[in-house]
C-alpha cells in the first residue's frame, strides 16, 4: 500500500510502521458508496453491532457460568438472581441472539430482492451463507448451555439428525456426545464450541467485508456505478444513517429486554433438564422453525434431514440458479411477485414449525391475531404444501427469464436519483 499523508502526526507515524490507518481512511472518505442506498442497507452494520454485543455479553456471562450438568442450570439462575446486573447481561445475550437473526434474515431478504447475489458478488453471498450456518450452530450450542428441558431435548433431537446418515450415523452421534446420550461431556464441548464459534464468525465477517469492498455495494436499482456522480462517501452520509438505524434497533431491543425478556424463548427452559421425560411439545428457537417445519414435512427420516439441509444449501447455488441478467426486483415484474410469495411461504413455514404436526393448522401473527384456516388442514398438510412451494421458488428461477419481460433499466444511478427529485 502506498503510504499516505495524514494531518495527524501520530497517524502518520503508525501508518509508516503498520498500514492500518489508510484502509480505515479509505473506507470512510474515498470508497465509493452508491448514493441511492435505502434503509435496507442498514442491516449489515446492525448485524456487526449484534456480533459485538454477543461477544461482550457472552464473555462476562462465561465468567459466571459453570459448564457441568450438575451446576449449569443453577449457575444460570445465580446469574439471574445474585450476580450484579446478571439478569441484564443474560437478557441482553438472549434477546440480541434473536435480534441478530431478525437482522440477518432481513439482510438476506434484501439481498434476494435486489439481486445482490449475482455476479460479481457470488462469493460475497456465499460467505454470507457460511456466516448464517455458523450463527445457527452458535445459537443452537448456546441454547443448550442453561441446561433446561428445551436445552436438553433440543440438543438431543438436533444431534440425532446425524443418526440418519447410513452406516456411520450412530458412530457420529456417539462421537458428538462423547457418551451414549447427551450428558456432561456433551455440555462441556458445547460450551467450548459456543465460546469459540463467534470468533470464527468474526473472522469470516472480515472476509465478507473484504469481498464487499472488492465488488462494491449493490444498490436498489441493481445497476453498476458509472462514475463519481453516482457515489457518495461513507462519512458523513452513511455514518449518520447507520446511527439512526442503531437508535431504532436499540429502542426495540430495550422494549424486549426490559418489558418482555422471555417472549422469544420457551417457558419449559426454566425447568431443569430431565433425561427421562420429554416435554409434550418440543420446539427449537424461533429462528430455526421454518427449517424444522421442512424436516417434519417429509415422513422419511433420512429424506427429512436431507430436505432440511437442502433448504439452506440451495442458497449456495442461488447465484447460478437465477439466470436473469437484471438484478433488482424493481425491474422484474414476475420475480417481484414471487419474492413476496416466497416471504409469505417462509413465514407460514415458521408458524408450522411451532405447532404439533397432528393438530389443525392455525395461522398466527404474534401479538395480533390467529385463526384456523380450515378444519381439514392439519399442520402436516400445510407444512408439506409450503415445503414444496419453498423449493419450487428456487427451481423456477432458471426458467423464469424465458417468460419474464423485464422493465427498462435507467441509464445511471445519478440520472434515476435526479429525475426522482425533480418530480
Amino acid at each position: 500500500m502506498s503510504s499516505k499523508q495524514f494531518k495527524n502526526p501520530v497517524a502518520n507515524w503508525v501508518e509508516k510502521r503498520l498500514p492500518v490507518i489508510s484502509p480505515i481512511h479509505h473506507t470512510l472518505f474515498e470508497h465509493p458508496f452508491p448514493r441511492n442506498l435505502n434503509f435496507m442497507w442498514n442491516f449489515g452494520s446492525l448485524a456487526g453491532l449484534c456480533l459485538v454485543i454477543m461477544i461482550v455479553t457472552g464473555i462476562v456471562l462465561a465468567m459466571q457460568y459453570t459448564p457441568n450438568t450438575a451446576d449449569a442450570f443453577g449457575s444460570v439462575e445465580r446469574i439471574m438472581r445474585d450476580v450484579n446486573s446478571g439478569w441484564l447481561l443474560r437478557y441482553l445475550h438472549m434477546n440480541v441472539a434473536s435480534f441478530f437473526f431478525i437482522v440477518v434474515y432481513i439482510h438476506m431478504f434484501r439481498g434476494l430482492y435486489y439481486g445482490s447475489y449475482k455476479a460479481p458478488r457470488e462469493l460475497l453471498w456465499i460467505i454470507g451463507v457460511v456466516i448464517l450456518l455458523l450463527m445457527m450452530a452458535t445459537g443452537f450450542l448456546g441454547y443448550t448451555l442453561p441446561w433446561g428441558q428445551m436445552s436438553f431435548w433440543g440438543a438431543t433431537v438436533i444431534t440425532n439428525l446425524f443418526s440418519a446418515i447410513p452406516g456411520v450415523g450412530d458412530a457420529i452421534v456417539t462421537w458428538l456426545w462423547g457418551g451414549f446420550s447427551v450428558d456432561n461431556p456433551t455440555l462441556n464441548r458445547f460450551f467450548v464450541l459456543h465460546f469459540l464459534l463467534p470468533f470464527v464468525i468474526l473472522g469470516v465477517v472480515i472476509l465478507h467485508i473484504l469481498a464487499l469492498h472488492t465488488s462494491v455495494s449493490n444498490n436498489p436499482l441493481g445497476i453498476e456505478i458509472k462514475g463519481p456522480q453516482d457515489t457518495i462517501s461513507f462519512h458523513p452520509y452513511f455514518t449518520i444513517k447507520d446511527m439512526l438505524g442503531v437508535c431504532v434497533f436499540l429502542l426495540l431491543l430495550c422494549a424486549f429486554v426490559f418489558f418482555m425478556p422471555n417472549d422469544m424463548g420457551h417457558p419449559d427452559n426454566y425447568i431443569p433438564a430431565d433425561p427421562l421425560v420429554t416435554p409434550a411439545h418440543i420446539v427449537p428457537e424461533w429462528y430455526f422453525l421454518p427449517f424444522y417445519a421442512v424436516l417434519r414435512s417429509i415422513p422419511d427420516k433420512l429424506m427429512g434431514v436431507i430436505a432440511m439441509f437442502a433448504a439452506i444449501g440451495v442458497l449456495f447455488i442461488l447465484p447460478w440458479l437465477d439466470r436473469s441478467p437484471v438484478r433488482s426486483a424493481r425491474f422484474r415484474p414476475m420475480f417481484r411477485v414471487m419474492f413476496w410469495a416466497f416471504l409469505v411461504i417462509c413465514y407460514i413455514l415458521g408458524t408450522v414449525g411451532a405447532q404439533a404436526p397432528d393438530n389443525v393448522y392455525v395461522f398466527v401473527v404474534p401479538y395480533l391475531f390467529s385463526f384456523e384456516v380450515s378444519s381439514w388442514m392439519t399442520v402436516l398438510t400445510v407444512g408439506q404444501i409450503t415445503t414444496a412451494l419453498y423449493f419450487l421458488f428456487f427451481l423456477s428461477l432458471p426458467i423464469l427469464p424465458l417468460f419474464e419481460k423485464t422493465k427498462p433499466l435507467p441509464a445511471s444511478i445519478s440520472e434515476a436519483v435526479l429525475s426522482k427529485s425533480e418530480k
Binding site: 440425532n160 443418526s163 462421537w175 451414549f180 433425561p275 420429554t278
Partner: protein
Amino acid sequence: MSNTGSGHDETKRDFLMVATAAVGAVGAGLTVWPFINSLNPSADVLALASIEVDLSTIEEGQSITVTWRGKPVFIRRQTAAEIADAEGVDVATLPDPQAYGDRVTKPGWLVMVGICTHLGCVPGGQKVTDNKGDFGGWYCPCHGSHYDTAGRIRKGPAPKNLEVPEYNFLSDNLIKIG
C-alpha cells in the same frame, strides 16, 4: 512413465514428490486422529456401561423405567392380551419386520431402550395415564411415531423398532443390561 527428455529424471523426482506427500499425509492423519478420538466416549463413561435390575417387584401389566448409559430403558411385564396382540401381527407388513419372539429373551418380559428411533425423544406409554398411540404400545409426541405392544414402529417418521439392548437373565428375577 516416460522420460520427457528435458534432461531431468522426471520419474525419480515425481516419485520423491509423491512419496514425501504420502508420508506427510499419513503423518498428518496420525497426528489428527488422537484429537478426534479424544471426543469419543472416555474410559470412565464406558465403565458405566452395564447395570443389573431386580424384576421381582414388577406385576403383570406394570412397567418400570431404569437408566442405562444415561438413557431410559423400558422394562414391561406384559399381559397375556398384549402378547397375543404382538404375536398376531403379520410380520411382513411391518415397516421394520421383526417377530415378537425375536424381541424378547423370555416371553412376557419386554426390555427396550426407551428412545424413539426417529430423533431421540422418550415416547410416552410407561404410565397408565399416558397416550399409548394407535397400537396400544408407546407414542412419541415429538413428531408422532406410534409403537405397538412389542415396541415395533407402526406409524410415523421413526424408521426402526425401539432398540432391544443386549441383556440376559442372571436368574429368574434378575437381569443384566449391557
